[in-house]
Symmetry: C2
Subunit: 501 residues, 2 copies
């Protein structure tokens, strides 16, 4: 795969692939260190881990900016490469350019500060300790701003665009403002219409407690049903659910609530979407930039496809229902579960939000990040900004509740500005994929009822997972769905599911 | 600490310490990768992990043999250093010399092969699959022999001495043969005498099942009683109990048996001994060679002190008894536990052996390793060698039982030849420490009964743990006990405890 039939020597390209293979070995330990810190590491190990992660980040940065690369990149341009090799070369060049934008000492300082801030945040959030968290957050945001400035200047783009590009290559603030701006036109009305419609629907009363280890066993059962390969991955607990690890060993986590199994289980369904993407990335391109997941937005589209397009589908819940009954010894009907999982309920917490109000949480964070970077918002003013926005977007008061307000997410604590838009991009890509898939295969509901869930995954494997980063995001989505990003499919999906129109 | 009162510039020494601090950051990930592989990693992740570990080992090897080090080592010789800095320089030089003995490609090949062999071994051992294991073991042993040859020639010592020195700096085959030779004179008779004495003593019947999670909770309770710091460490499960991680985050494991809690719990006591040593290494020397544990023999002396000198002490078992009763809801008397934990029972498995027959398992492995290295034993002949030796030493037949015979240990599977003698050296050092400690503090039994267990740990902290590698092994033991290694204390201990003389 990826090799032309007549083998022409490609010495420069070969040196590049060997070098990036080596980089992937070191990135293996970044991934392991991150997972372990969140899922396993005791607090007291944080300082040493942070120092070690910073050293590793600096080393990887050094490898990505190595002097010899420019020469090999130049040499490889004149070599006879297959289309896939060309794509890998494009991705290698992109990584090289991105790494060269930022000086190594800033990389190291950011990594160290992020670890320090995150470790403290885990306790501070529990204690609603905004005053304790604030100085750390300031330091992290200052470093992120410095990075944005440097990256922006070097690429001749705005600082915030430069941050977006770290997670979503090619994305711009202008494009996002246009796409997300569309949301603002129809979403508030939609939320109100759905709330009115659901006002008199019965609510599921979760009569727990539900044993945590039984919830775990149920989770593993659901993962297996969704095709998760346990020979190449694990399920664990962490305070913030995530998917980490490497494609040959994908580690997902969730958090459990004894009183309510529903969020832990749907969290697992979500992370399993991420995991399947990783586990099914192209084998032939393992360890190469072309073999990586395309972008954070596309990654999120796979998790949201699993959670929202599949997980909240009535047919999926008909499959889930007996598993819940068996593991948790409780007997909700599939109909009750479907109502529960499509209940719209404006709330404080982004990760617990339903799919209708979720984009509001992202709009808030998108506005805050832009304002941090252009200097119109300071960390001191963040709680007020948060309260005002939550009031406007969802009619919720967050005054004084920092832990469920501006301290709820890990992203800023670790200096990841520019990531949040990926969530709503993901929801849009997921809806767009669903309509394209159903055009080819018929309704997903019918497929699941017919025991053909695998054909859904086969479509995703063929059109998304197996492509890695061989195509650009726009081209990937265009080849899969017939057009580039189009936010209208999300609107169509939400109107269909929540208003039946 | 470690800095002379009048600060004289030490530029070369400072460069060395910065360089070894960096090395310790990469070694952090070796430790994490090893722990994770044994305690967490799914089988399918093994290939990538092995490749990544090999890359990391090569990188660390490169750092330890870096061209600039010779110059700084030379420069540091003329600098004005404190006694402790001199000791650190001695350890830096030793690490540099040891690393320079072996070419990087052999380091990488060994790491890769060890990971491959270990991963397969985990399944093969379960299946008693000697034929499957044999070719892997051959490859690993061949690489270990190559390493021994290269190391021996360069240091002008025998190949097996060169392997011993990796784990026990300064140890020689001659010294071991003399010390272990002494064992052969008195141990077989002692075993027979003890078996005769215990023949009619009542045996504890463990009326399980004992819930695994209850055993885990009991284990954590015992760890806390022994002063394990859970802010800087964890307890997990693995098929082969071990202590790993880094001093700020020490990871111990055990394995559980539903039918019999006693080995899991005493395994935890053993690993807690290792862990306390690591957690109490000198803070001021963290990340420097002088801050590392002294040797594998000294390390094992701390775990065996915990397990044998403390754990099997009747006073300790009087403390353990109510904890067992509480967690496992079973009511054995302290007297019954003491009989159980001092029961001598020649058996197949080294890690399950009592302290009286344990040295026989080491003698067998010591003889086999020497014979592998000098070529008088091949992997093909290992099962026969094993059977013959087990018959001679313990009167046990192991024919055809590979999983509980020559496939039981992980050490050879990962290419660690020269390590096994450390276990019996540890038992000897532990007994020697106990007699020295009791000379100063009075009997341990009385200390525990008086609630002064901490004074035992205080003695170990002062004489062993806080010294790191600031002293040579001989000097460490001499300062702690008044003399260098003396195997007679182990004999005295065993005669006292098992024959009452």
């Amino acid at each position: 795969m990826g090799t032309p039939k007549t083998k022409v020597p490609t010495p420069s390209y070969d040196k590049l692939t060997a070098h990036f293979q080596k980089i992937s070995h070191f990135e293996h330990f970044s991934a392991l260190g991150d997972w372990d810190q969140a899922a396993m590491m005791p607090m007291g190990g944080g300082q040493d881990r942070g120092d070690a992660m910073a050293e590793l980040a600096l080393h990887i940065h050094g490898l990505k900016t190595s002097d010899t690369l420019a020469e090999h990149l130049h040499g490889a341009e004149d070599e006879s490469l297959s289309t896939e090799q060309e794509a890998n070369l494009r991705e290698i060049l992109y990584q090289y350019q991105q790494a060269n934008l930022v000086p190594g000492d800033l990389v190291q300082a950011k990594t160290k500060m992020a670890y320090q801030c995150e470790n403290a945040w885990r306790e501070q959030r529990k204690n609603n300790d905004w005053q304790g968290f604030k100085p750390n957050l300031k330091a992290v945001i200052d470093l992120a701003k410095e990075e944005a400035q440097i990256r922006g200047e070097a690429q001749n783009i705005t600082p915030y665009d430069a941050l977006l590009n770290k997670f979503e290559p090619g994305m711009t603030t202008a494009k996002l403002e246009q796409t997300f701006g569309g949301l603002k036109d129809w979403l508030p009305t939609l939320i109100q219409d759905v709330l009115t419609k659901q006002a008199n629907e019965p609510k599921l009363v979760l009569n727990g407690p539900f044993d945590i280890s039984a919830q775990q066993a149920l989770g593993r059962d659901v993962m297996a049903f969704l095709g998760f390969d346990f020979n190449h991955g694990r399920l664990d607990m962490s305070s913030h659910p995530f998917c980490g690890g490497v494609p040959s060993d994908v580690r997902i986590t969730t958090r459990y609530n004894e009183a309510d199994f529903s969020s832990a289980i749907m969290g697992i369904v979500h992370e399993t979407g991420h995991a399947r993407y990783e586990q099914d990335l192209p084998q032939a391109w393992r360890g190469q930039p072309a073999g990586l997941a395309r972008s954070m937005g596309v990654h999120e589209s796979q998790s949201l496809f699993c959670e929202m397009q599949l997980g909240a589908n009535p047919a999926f819940l008909r499959q889930l229902q007996p598993k819940i009954a068996q593991h948790l010894n409780c007997h909700f009907s599939a109909q009750e579960l479907a109502q529960h999982y499509t209940r719209v309920n404006p709330g404080l917490i982004r990760v617990d939000a339903d799919e209708v109000t979720y984009p509001c949480h992202i709009l808030l964070r998108f506005e805050a990040e832009k304002a941090f970077v252009d200097g119109s918002l300071t960390v001191d003013d963040l709680p007020d900004f948060w309260s005002t926005q939550m009031q406007q977007l969802l009619g919720i008061n967050t005054d004084g509740n920092y832990r469920d307000g501006c301290m709820q997410d890990i992203h800023w604590a670790v200096g990841e500005l520019g990531y949040f838009p990926s969530y709503t991009l993901g929801a849009m890509y997921a809806a767009q994929c669903r309509f394209a898939m159903e055009k080819a295969l018929g309704p997903i509901e019918a497929l699941i009822d017919a025991g053909k869930l695998d054909s859904v995954f086969q479509w995703l494997r063929e059109h998304i997972w197996s492509k890695g980063s061989l195509l650009t995001t726009d081209e990937l989505i265009r080849q899969a769905t017939g057009e580039t990003l189009n936010g209208q499919y999300l609107e169509r999906h939400l109107r269909q599911r929540y208003l039946g129109i």
